[in-house]
């Protein structure tokens, strides 16, 4: 019954018409007043996001009033009230294991969380304006290690990147069920971004998927600065099928010169005249602005000689969305810092995530290792990005300090605030975007930190140091200034630069001994040993016997002052070397909150690195057959035991006489025909012949599937099939008798190798 019909029951027609008209006008006035007062969300539900969307570890509701942020180490999601800068944490909601991505629907009524270890997406009901924060009421099973997720612009579909099963799960948000799984031809889908043409149709968008690690380029050799390229898969949301792949090219000139060229057999000299290139790697995230998509990434410049400013670079690549091609506008953000005239430079190490303003051609990149956010402006026509200078001091790059190890950023719909998720400090930084210069206005705790004095607290300090390019340490004297900047020169490098999440960047670096693929550190200690006291020799040539020996990497690769100090507690101890004369463990160290820095770093490697989970079933008949063939071929003689390598440090450092020969723990090396001194990249960083004739430490097979395309110490094999094509290698366990001549048998072994993870039973 209409208002007029009701009125007609009580009054004459003309009076009723007059009264009902005024009621309509009054209603309109009330609605207008409410809308102007900003309370429109109560009346008009937001059903569509504004602008393109990126996957992030934190998410805003459509009106920007509420925020959700994952706490990967706490297995929870925190929810925040942002209204009127309240910046108040409302609740910490437990989800499943290791949440790395979260989204909120535009109306803020539901949250979806990607639980990486559990392989699920949690669904929560929310009505935060009404105080309601529901528990996860449903766990949707997706692929292996779902890392990130995003909603389509109208929230009809949820896309989930399964980082280990190399697929995208498509979830219908109405039924909350997986309606399709899109297989990807490329490994490790990581970052997601989706276009938004601002209509009701979610079937006319393009989904972009970045692949974390880069891929070998045919004809190139590992160790070259252009050996690999990055890839982005494009998916049409009309059909939810792959429509193309964008190749992100290496850059020919990083803007930084080397003083030699190892691959050209030119040893380091006095002059820095050698141009260095870099290829894109660690494509964790991407963001769309206009006709372009932008990918912050860590460029790898592996050719020697080793020096702090010619190894990793801070790249921002650009995709032309119209052509689907690399726009070839990649910039090296480090260069902007190098060019600043002001001193106290802080480089932008490990660019990890990015977000754009909605109404301006301005974006912000988080530097995960340097704990800052840097501003970037983009040319809307050409797509070229430029690192912005500080408007109040144009002698320097604008760097906004945030928390420890920032890993995600979102910007509210009216472009007044940015929110940054800080992984290590477990908090959220609020940045005011309205002033002449962006500034941090609040830090909100997201999840509790470990209790001081516990092993967890020590691991946490280690995680902080592992992931920072700077390092902030306790003062040398009480009440003195903190000691800073010991991890690298000007914040250039971090352990995580080459070991993201403690794993591997899969780059073959031309290092001191020769070409060396980065070894993932989840294999350093025997994870079946509760005390983590059994460790393999470190580096491919067993040149190290302690975690603390990597003090030499901090000093010699990253040009940091290091953590081992003299008795005054601050002066770097010059007497640090591999093996002898002194063990490096237990030396006088800098401390963080009273925790010795190297003890903490070691604890992180022991207890804080999670091996990737294989998507391959252990009961797959091919896997079972491959395991039997592996065992019959006695592969376990080198790759057996709980660490999936036979090698061990079998002494308490420092080693006794005869243990170390030629700088290697000689007894732990195996020569199985994987060293070809004639190979182009078998060269030391100083141009001399590389180390390897004595063999190598058998690499651990634990979770080796996660680092595809580049195998053996120098990347000589591009696949596991190629690894097994080496007869000497595959016959090493059977006294040279080749039991694997049948290619089908070898394929079974490959299948078995791809299945090995922490859930696999070791072979002895």
């Amino acid at each position: 019954m209409t208002t007029r019909q009701i009125l007609l029951a009580f009054m004459p027609r003309h009076v009723a018409r007059f009264v009902s008209g005024w009621i309509a006008v009054a209603t309109l006035l009330v609605l207008t007043t409410v809308w102007q007062s900003g309370n429109v969300s109560a009346l008009v539900e937001i059903t569509r996001f504004a602008g393109p969307i990126s996957s992030q570890p934190l998410a805003l509701s459509g009106d920007g009033a509420f925020l959700a942020a994952v706490n990967p180490d706490n297995n929870s999601v925190s929810l925040f009230d942002l209204r009127a800068d309240k910046n108040k944490r409302l609740a910490i909601v437990p989800v499943q294991s290791e949440p790395n991505g979260v989204v909120l629907t535009p109306n803020g009524r539901r949250a979806f969380v990607a639980n990486t270890v559990s392989g699920t997406v949690s669904v929560m009901d929310l009505n935060i304006p009404n105080g309601f924060i529901g528990k996860p009421r449903k766990q949707i099973v997706v692929g292996t290690e779902p890392y990130s997720l995003l909603l389509s612009p109208n929230a009809t579909k949820l896309y989930v990147a399964n980082a280990r099963s190399d697929s995208i799960s498509v979830i219908d948000t109405a039924s909350e069920t997986v309606v399709k799984t899109i297989p990807l031809a490329l490994a490790e889908p990581r970052g997601l971004a989706i276009s938004n043409d601002d209509d009701d149709d979610d079937g006319d968008e393009t989904l972009y998927v970045s692949h974390f690690l880069s891929f070998p380029i045919a004809g190139k050799v590992d160790g070259e600065d252009d050996a690999k390229n990055g890839r982005v898969t494009r998916i049409s949301t009309a059909t939810d099928t792959v429509v193309g792949t964008t190749v992100i090219n290496p850059i020919a000139d990083t803007g930084f010169k080397a003083n030699g060229d190892a691959l050209a057999r030119v040893p380091p000299g006095m002059n820095f005249t050698f141009t260095t290139g870099a290829y894109p790697n660690q494509l964790n995230n991407l963001a769309i602005k206009g006709n372009f998509a932008y990918l912050p990434n860590t460029g790898a410049s592996p050719n020697g000689p080793v020096r702090f400013d010619v190894n990793t670079q801070s790249l921002l690549a650009v995709i032309n969305r119209t052509t689907g091609l690399d726009a070839n506008h990649t910039i090296n953000m480090h260069r902007a810092v190098a060019d600043q005239t002001a001193s106290e430079k802080l480089f932008l190490t490990q660019p990890w995530a990015m977000a754009f303003k909605h109404a301006a051609d301005e974006g912000y990149v988080v530097s995960a290792a340097s704990n800052v956010v840097v501003k970037v402006t983009v040319d809307p026509a050409a797509g070229t990005p430029t690192v912005a200078l500080d408007p109040t001091d144009t002698a320097r790059v604008l760097e906004v300090p945030v928390g420890k190890n920032p890993r995600g950023i979102v910007i509210n719909p009216d472009d007044t605030r940015a929110y940054v998720m800080n992984y290590v400090s477990r908090d959220v930084t609020v940045i005011d975007l309205t002033g002449a210069k962006e500034a941090t206005v609040a830090t909100i705790a997201s999840a509790p930190l470990p209790t001081p004095g516990t092993l967890d607290a020590k691991v946490q300090v280690g995680k902080e140091l592992y992931n920072t390019s700077v390092g902030v340490f306790d003062p040398a004297v009480p009440a003195g200034p903190p000691i800073v900047g010991r991890m690298s020169r000007n914040g250039w490098g971090a352990c995580s630069s080459c070991h993201p999440n403690g794993l591997s960047d899969n780059v073959v670096w031309i290092f001191g001994p020769g070409p060396r693929r980065t070894i993932p550190q989840h294999t350093d200690f025997d994870l079946t040993d509760a005390t983590r006291s059994r460790m393999r020799p470190l580096n491919w040539s067993a040149e190290r016997d302690e975690q603390e020996d990597f003090e030499l990497n901090i000093r010699n690769v990253s040009s940091g002052d290091g953590l081992i100090v003299l008795g005054d507690g601050v002066t770097p101890d010059p007497n640090v070397a591999n093996f002898v004369p002194l063990a490096n463990g237990g030396r006088t160290q800098l401390t963080v909150g009273g925790v010795p820095a190297w003890d903490a770093l070691k604890a992180f490697v022991q207890f804080g690195i999670r091996p990737p989970i294989s998507p391959v079933s252990k009961t797959d008949p091919d896997v079972v057959a491959g395991r039997a063939l592996f065992t019959a071929a006695n592969c376990q003689s080198c790759h057996g035991g709980p660490q999936w390598t036979s090698s061990r440090v079998r002494f308490t450092p420092p080693p006794g006489p005869g243990v170390v020969v030629g700088g290697q723990i000689i007894g732990e090396l195996r020569q199985v025909g994987t060293f070809n001194p004639a190979a182009f990249n078998e060269v030391r960083q100083n141009g001399a012949a590389s180390l390897g004739a004595d063999g190598f430490v058998p690499p651990s097979l634990l979770s080796l599937f996660a680092f595809p395309g580049t195998f053996l110490h120098g990347g000589a094999a591009g696949s596991l099939d190629e690894v097994l094509n080496n007869v000497q290698h595959r016959s090493a366990g059977t006294g040279g008798v080749d039991t694997l001549t049948n290619p089908a048998d070898r394929s079974f072994i490959v299948r078995f190798l791809l299945s090995i993870d922490r859930a696999s039973a070791p072979i002895f």
Binding site: R109, D125, N127
Partner: protein, 229 residues
Amino acid sequence: MTNMMMCLAPYLLAVGRFVRSQHIRKASMSFRFRTRSHHIVCVLGAVVVGSLFFATPASAGSIAVDTWYEFGFGDVGTVATGCDPADPAGPFCIPSGGTATTFLDAPPWTFTSGATGSTLTATDAFNSGDRFELFDFGVSIGFTSAFGANVDCGDDPVPCLADADMSHGVFALASGNHSITIEVAEGGFGLGYLLLQDGGGAEAVPEPATLVLFASGAATALYRRRRQS
């Protein structure tokens, strides 16, 4: 109490004997009820005890006077819960930033009113638009008021109660035991508060459990009178 022990004794002893002897027939015969009426009264007593036991599930908890309790609720037609962690089945409630409040545990919420009865106040919180129906031992004791304009009274129960646009209600309860549940009548997915205060109770209306108790007492009196005669 003596009477109760007299009633329980045959069962307790029988069970004890059964456990010892593993012989049910011997055990059941070893202690006899004194009379047929004694048996009837004891069975009736057991019903009383049972009704009280089942009226207050173990997971539910009692509530105290003069304390603001926060509860959560889902969709219309569902029963309100407590708040996590007090009620593991409840949502994560946003606590009051002003007046001291506490999270309710799982429903039903029980209490015993004194001689002057009790007053139970319920109010919606945060956004208006929610309305509730309250039940005592499953019997409706009424609805909260109709809500008014769209307002946000915040997380504090006191200003929320004072806001005419927020749905709330004050219910007079008689002396005796009460077991309260709340059902969402309008709105949904939010939080609200309960406040129990002494006095102001309505005239007692016997509840089912009270009726059984009354019947038990009458039967006992009748039994004793018959024995004395």
